[in-house]
């Protein structure tokens, strides 16, 4: 996620859709492999999946029509920072529980 934030700052839009997709698939795998996740934890992971899916669509749309609205780097990085904090906390809780 830190790498994606860096790519946003560099505005290397062409590289980003693939990175969002990798992140999204990793999160889907974590969700599928964690049967003991609580409803809140599942919702937190689903939130991150949805953010990355939407960012991918937003960037693809911009790449297809560069004259259209440019994605906002501060806004996107703000969302990723929040997701990173939430998921770091979630993973720490899972590790502490021995999952």
């Amino acid at each position: 996620m830190a790498e994606v934030k860096r790519l946003h700052r560099l505005e290397t839009w062409q590289l980003l859709p693939e990175r969002y997709d990798v992140l999204r698939r990793s999160l889907i795998r974590i969700k599928a492999s964690g049967p003991s996740l609580t409803e809140v934890q599942l919702s937190q992971i689903q939130s991150a999946i949805q953010h990355f899916a939407s960012m991918e669509k937003q960037v693809e749309k911009y790449l297809a029509a560069p004259d259209g609205p440019k994605p906002s780097v501060p806004r996107m990085n703000g969302i990723i920072t929040t997701q990173l904090d939430t998921l770091t906390e979630l993973m720490s809780a899972l590790r502490a529980r021995g999952d």
Partner: protein
């Protein structure tokens, strides 16, 4: 499409939004707010629709577990099965926006910082001593 079920979902979302403070969050798109559940996510936004000229419609979208859009309805769609759909959705959108932006938390914090200074009675408030005919 089952507009009845979507109307039920919107009503339930409006009720839960009133009860919770952490349901809605900001997104990377301006004016779009998201609520997440274990397997699905819901987004609400306001954009030009086709119901009335120069007026925005409120849209509710449902996404599946890998982030694919599976359903979208607007207030004009819901008005076929729901009385006052526009008002319900405008209220839901506004509540989602305030929650996602942390408006209530900001107001609470500022009010606490200001303390009781300059406090005025809300309109219609009556002193404990007023409104009684008792002579003491």
């Amino acid at each position: 499409m089952s507009y009845e079920k979507m109307a039920a979902l919107v009503t339930r979302l409006a009720n839960v939004t009133e009860q919770r403070t952490d349901l809605w969050e900001r997104t990377s798109e301006d004016g779009v707010f998201q609520a997440s559940f274990p397997t699905y996510a819901v987004r609400i936004d306001q954009r030009p629709g086709d119901s009335y000229q120069n007026e925005s419609d409120i849209f509710v979208r449902i996404f599946d577990d890998d982030g694919t859009l599976i359903e979208e309805v607007s207030d004009s769609d819901l008005s076929r099965v729901m009385n006052g759909a526009y008002v319900v959705l405008v209220r839901l959108y506004e509540a989602a926006r305030r929650q996602a932006m942390g408006v209530e938390a900001a107001l609470d914090s500022i009010l606490e910082a200001l303390g009781g200074e300059g406090e005025v009675d809300p309109p219609g408030a009556v002193d404990a001593d007023e409104g009684t005919d008792l002579p003491f």
